[in-house]
Amino acid sequence: MAKPTARVERKAEEPTLDLDTLVKQFVSRQEAFNEFMDVIQLLHERGILSALKAALERYEDLLGVLADWLNSMGTQSPANLLELVNTLTKANIRGLSSIISAASKGAATSGNKQPPSLEGLLKSLEEDDVKRGLWVVIQVLREIGSSSLE
């Protein structure tokens, strides 16, 4: 005669870690594991892990401080940041890479010579390449200016 019972004797929880699987995974990805451990060690040595841990523990407090700062009078950071991002999004700077390349070339060339005299600078303004360069810079500034008004 089985009497109803709700009593259960449970075994103590055994560790669920399957060591064999872990070792196999470690061996097959040893290089990646080593690098990962190095990163962890460096983060620890630089105190970043401690900072991160503390930040996570005090997450709400930090957010609160941030929110108070953002709300304080005169703080323009979010607006400025957004303005910058929006301006960069809208500005149509075509051929930027060739300009950067040309700028680098110019910088390299200038590094090999003595600084020009004022007369030399004025003469340079007559060169077609210099005129074109100035025109590009002016165009970029114009786009940035008009975008900031929108």
Binding site: K3, E9, Q76, L82
Partner: protein, 992 residues
Amino acid sequence: MVVVEIFIWFGEDWGAVSFVNLRVNGRSIDVPAGAPLLVSLERSGVYVPHVCYNPSLGAIQTCDLCFVEVDGQLVRACSTPVREGMVVDTETPRVTSVRKAAMDRILTNHNLYCTICDNNNGDCELHNTVARMGVRNQSFKSKPYPVDSSNPFYVYDPNQCILCGRCVEACQDYVVNEVIRIDWSLNPPRVVWDNNSPIGQSSCVSCGTCATVCPVDAIMEKSMIGEAGLFTRIKPETRGKLVGALKRSETDISFYMLTSDIEAKLRSTQIKKTKTVCPFCAVGCSFEVWTKGRKILKVEPKSESPANGVATCIKGKFGWDFVNSPERLTKPLIREGDHFREASWEEAISLVARRLTEIKHKHGPDAIGVIATCTGTNEEAYLAQKLARAVIGTNNVDNCARYCQAPATTGLFRTVGIGGDSGTMADTEKADLVITFGSNTAEAHPVWAGKLKRAKKLRGQKLIVVDVKPHEMVGWADLFISPHPGTDLVVVNAIAKHIVDQGWEDREFIEKRTVNFEAYRKELEPFTLEYAERVTGVPRELIIRAATMIHEARSVCAIFAMGITQHQNGSETTTAISDLLLLTGNYGRPGTGAYPARGHANVQGTSDFGALPTYLPGYERVDNPKIREKYEKAWGVKLPMTPGLTSTEMVDAILDGRLRAMYIMGEDKVLADSNQQKVGEALSKVEFLVVQELFLTRTAQYADVILPAAASLEKDGTFVNTERRIQRLYKAFDPPGEAKADWEIIQMVANAMGAGWVYTHPMEIMDEVAGVAEYFAGVSYERLEGFRSLLWPVKKDGADSPLLYTDRFEFPDGRARFHVPKWIEPLGSTTQYDMYLDNGRVLEHFHWGNLTWRSKGIRELVPEAYIEISPEAAQRKGLKTGDKVLVKSRVGRVVAGVMVSDRVSSNRLYIGLHGQGDDAVNQLTGDERDPTSKTPAYKELPVSVEKLEGEYERRAPLPVSNYRHHVKSRVSQVGVKVEEKWSRADYAQVKG
């Protein structure tokens, strides 16, 4: 308002409708006639912004985003049907300007802080529309209303509400609970519950449909909050400060939109959406369940969910806490004297196999009984009966249909040949007249009730309710007939006789499609109006009126449930109902037929797939040698030929020594079967009891071995709903601990007994079924992919059968049988037992409550089982709400709190099934059964009631947060009343 035609149209194959030609932006396109322009444009790849239109709800006309020009006039595309030759322009400057103004108005109501919003999951309709329209700024105005979080399951934030009215449409016209509306007279307007009550003190039934359809985060499931987003777990006050600061500096929102889009993509790595089917009642609601690890974030039904669309009930939407309950069984348990100890699967399975084999050898295979679970899958039911028949060697296999709907199956087998609904729930929506017999539809099958209420409210469908209890559906009925308990058969036959007497029977149908009419007609003779009035207490005028309504209706559906079946004459009454439908030609046409409303999620499928003592899968009889031969060949074993014991007979068989072992899967027999004391005695006595369960239930407490099973979310498989609709459920996550899916456990037991089964996935089991059972010949997982479904019988080519009997009935000659039902006198009240205790479901709980008691929110709303008593009877007995009573029957006693209620009348009481302790109803029910189906007569229960004196806390059994206290505050309206919005001074109405 809901446009029913559009909804119906939406599900149709484009190839099946006629087309009209439009010119859209200079391009010629063909679209289905009658469709809303918005849908036609979308389907043709023309984008038109919108946030209030929803395919299930139809045109609401509040957002004003979908304006287009048609023949030069501005119109809302959502509410404009297409017509031949229409010239449509979707991108003119005028259209763009109107849409921009509309979006500006919407964004004054909703603050876009998507990155820290839990609704930003890639499917926020407002977010996506803002992005698509290229909106770069907003001017948000805060509203002076606080967040309402007084409902246990969802919150309403008026500050984020765009007043689109979807929640109103859903509540008023889709699920038709009529709780929510927009009060356009307030400044600013807002969504209100009842007469502007807190949600937690309103008549809200917590079906959650409002949260499902809300396009933003205004109405949101609490389980989502702080969980869906990567950065959303922030205190509201901190969030408010952050949002305030960022929005003040904002000149352009496009960067915020970008970051929130990126964040939404990141969220998708941690949120999984899995299609599943609800494990509670048999309406078969399907939905996606959103999970994060094992956390259930929300349940989201879709417009393409075939049985339910976007509707759910409280249990399907919010009743999922049981899945992660700490009380889940996670390891096999073996009894050792007065306690259980944990065991390995090897030890437990080995013990089960050894003991079952010993008993089989010593006492024969028929000394073992198997109960398959009705909340398990079809594949699991198939394996359970295969284990019983092919491995153990007995037909002693049954399921919980024995407790509820087996009599309905009997009645339909006798008359039309198939033990299932004649058509779909859509047919019950289409019918001219619906008659419900013994069905508290709004509480037991609430999503189905929504469809009936919608048909009534929007289309004027007629409704007759036959019930002992004046439940919610009575408020919707054109005619309410309340017979004495157990006398429904007399009512039905008296209606039939009156129809015959008036010459209203469908002679042509009877002659061409039926046999045995004359014998039936003769047997109706005693059921005169006078006799019916005397026996049933129903005035003859009501019977005449019911007969007249049936006669006048072009199509009639009869829905019947446990109020009919759980009587001694359950099989007889269902037979009589089916006879009545045959008499009036109400089979085989759209909007006609018999609809037994099945109770458990897969009670239909568990029976369909063979877990019955007389039938193999697909209702092929075990005593038919040809059928047996087919299965013997397929399974490679000799099969038993004698029909087995029913679940209720197994209890008797234990007590008289014929049955020595039971293997019960997912069935709390102690609470579910009648006469709890007797069942307990039997389970104490049985030599060996195996229970496969989620929890240590009352039944499991008697077991020798308990095997931990998986919940529906933790396995793949299929369910069959009450319509005969087969639907797939997919695994969302693994079972906890060492628990396993039932099919895996059954296979382990079978193999330990020498079976040699090698199923690796339920799909292989279904393939095997399709190979042997004719009804399922064309069923495959591929054909059931996603939200697709099939209604059996399914031919090999995949053609299914939404509507039965269009050409023939399921008999060799194709003709239906009039079957003469026998009248069995029900148990009546006596001097000693002068009250009558009706019992059944309550909306919030599911049956014995093993799943729903574990939902914190549901416990909060319905914390105990209680006795409802009418005000007159309460006065007579000196009872008040909050008193406790001792209820006695000839068999046992129950103690429960009292609730005085107008939902019961005269000497009738009502108690929910969900009590598990002193309030468990089956301590009172006895051994009377339907002699054909062996279903207990649970609802024939004369009792006495006496007030419990002494010291106890007198409090109302239902808290004030329960909707039942507030139903009289509901405000019924059709649609969102957008005209009131348009007439407000602050609304610049667009002039077309």
